[in-house]
């Protein structure tokens, strides 16, 4: 165990007119620090390609995660994949990236554009060894990870972007490298990287992709802990314990809720200074307490954070949309979705008597469900989540 962690993000666009994607990304976790990612691109497009790539990625990721050799994986796929009627072959290209204990990466590639690797924001040509398995040339690489290493795997839809439209020969791998180096931002998450590249492909295709295009990015990050406290404890006697635990933790501290922030301010011996600016009429203003990184209202703001989490996961909003907004919910979203890798929630279960009014659309159950839902969405984003109740 070291202080590195892995952030994964992937996105696809379908060939124009297709409802299914012929590319498939599968991730199997072996443990908290080791996993296998497979990006497969099935022959053709539509249903057939989708079945081929799903089978290929599922078989390889499962077998690799159980420590079977690449030779066995390839043999199994060759024996399993249905043969295409038109072309008489069973075929799906694949890229495998396996991260061991967040310290070593193993890359195995077959016929997809080679994985682009950035180290310190610059292109890094890692050594590749070719080997022949069942008549297929497969490239293997193994390397030690460093902080901020970025791996970008893609299906060939990326390098065909713009063929015959904006670019005569498509988008060459070298040009993609130049684009990624030029747009490199140390703070960008894996999801941000994959979205950036995919958006550019879609633009080159003029919004009408000629092939399914998938980008999967892996970013090696330093762990960044974040702590969020919401609600006073159900037993007032636990207040001191809750606050001491919360403020003793490493990383940034976010305090949500009017009463909660008042109590936190008392604990720190500093005043709460609410801001008057309603940046978004729907979201209550934030406040400031010296020693706390962010102070917001509770339930209304967190409801908005959950809304943003859903939109962020389905790609309706990006981190740059959130970073230009300055309301409480967008600020929390930015800290949790982009910056943090490990998030600890300190949830107080005191019932606010003022909220138990049938005329108000907030009550205790909604608050608890809200935290559950947000934790689930954050896990989907690949964060390590820890929730403690008081």
């Amino acid at each position: 165990m070291n202080n590195l962690c892995t952030d994964i993000g992937f996105n696809s666009i379908n060939k124009k007119g297709e409802q299914l994607c012929g590319d498939h990304v599968e991730i199997v976790e072996q443990n908290e620090n080791s996993f296998v990612l497979v990006l497969a691109d099935g022959l053709g497009s539509g249903v057939k390609a989708c079945i081929l790539s799903t089978l290929t990625s599922k078989i390889i990721s499962t077998m690799m995660a159980n420590n079977l050799s690449i030779e066995d994986c390839v043999a199994t796929i060759a024996a399993t994949l249905p043969v295409c009627e038109k072309r008489g072959i069973a075929y799906s290209t694949f890229t495998i990236i396996r991260i061991n204990n967040n310290s070593e990466a193993e890359i195995i590639q077959y016929d997809n554009p080679h994985v682009i690797m950035l180290r310190g924001g610059m292109n890094y040509e890692y050594p590749r060894t070719g080997m022949d398995i069942e008549g297929k040339t497969i490239y293997k690489s193994k390397l030690q990870l460093e902080k901020n290493d970025v791996f970008i795997a893609m299906s060939d839809g990326a390098i065909y972007a713009g063929v015959g439209k904006t670019l005569n020969f498509g988008w060459q791998r070298d040009s993609i490298i130049d684009f990624m180096v030029g747009n490199y931002d140390k703070k960008m998450s894996a999801k941000g990287i994959s979205q950036l590249l995919l958006d550019e492909c879609n633009t080159l295709y003029g919004g009408e992709p000629g092939d399914d295009t998938t980008i999967a990015a892996i970013k090696i990050r330093q762990r960044i802990p974040m702590n969020l406290m919401i609600g006073p404890p159900s037993n007032p006697g636990d207040l001191k314990k809750m606050q001491t635990l919360f403020f003793a933790k490493e990383g940034k501290h976010i305090v949500c809720g009017g009463t909660t922030s008042k109590l936190a301010a008392e604990y720190l011996g500093k005043p709460v200074v609410p801001c008057l600016d309603y940046i978004d009429p729907e979201i209550p203003p934030i406040a400031k307490i010296e020693g706390v990184d962010l102070v917001t209202e509770g339930v209304v703001t967190m409801t908005k954070v959950l809304e943003y989490a859903n939109e962020y996961l389905d790609g309706t909003i990006s981190i740059s949309d959130l970073s230009i907004r300055k309301d409480g919910a967008s600020r929390i979203a930015q800290l949790l979705f982009e910056e943090a890798t490990d998030i600890s929630f300190y949830v107080g279960r005191a019932i606010n008597p003022a909220h138990q009014n049938p005329k108000l659309p907030i009550n205790f159950n909604i608050k608890m469900q809200l935290i559950d839902e947000i934790s689930r969405k954050l896990k989907e984003m690949g964060k390590n989540i820890n929730v403690s109740y008081f």
Partner: protein
Amino acid sequence: MNVYVCVGSSCHLKGSYKIIELMKENIEKNNLEDKVSLSAAFCLGKCTTGVTIKVDDEIVCGVSPENFSEIFRKYIIERV
């Protein structure tokens, strides 16, 4: 004179935003910028009867756009 408008969850849902806008407007209209300091406050503890405001040390509940001018006259204009 210090005027606080509650922006806690309940008051927010009952329209703190609108009340703050009205406050700013009316303070300006009556040229009270030098005399009245307007701020936001986290929960003032009167959640069921919001929007709640605090004028110096006195708490006034149930402020709405409808009764705003009356409250503004009674608690602010007549006292500064």
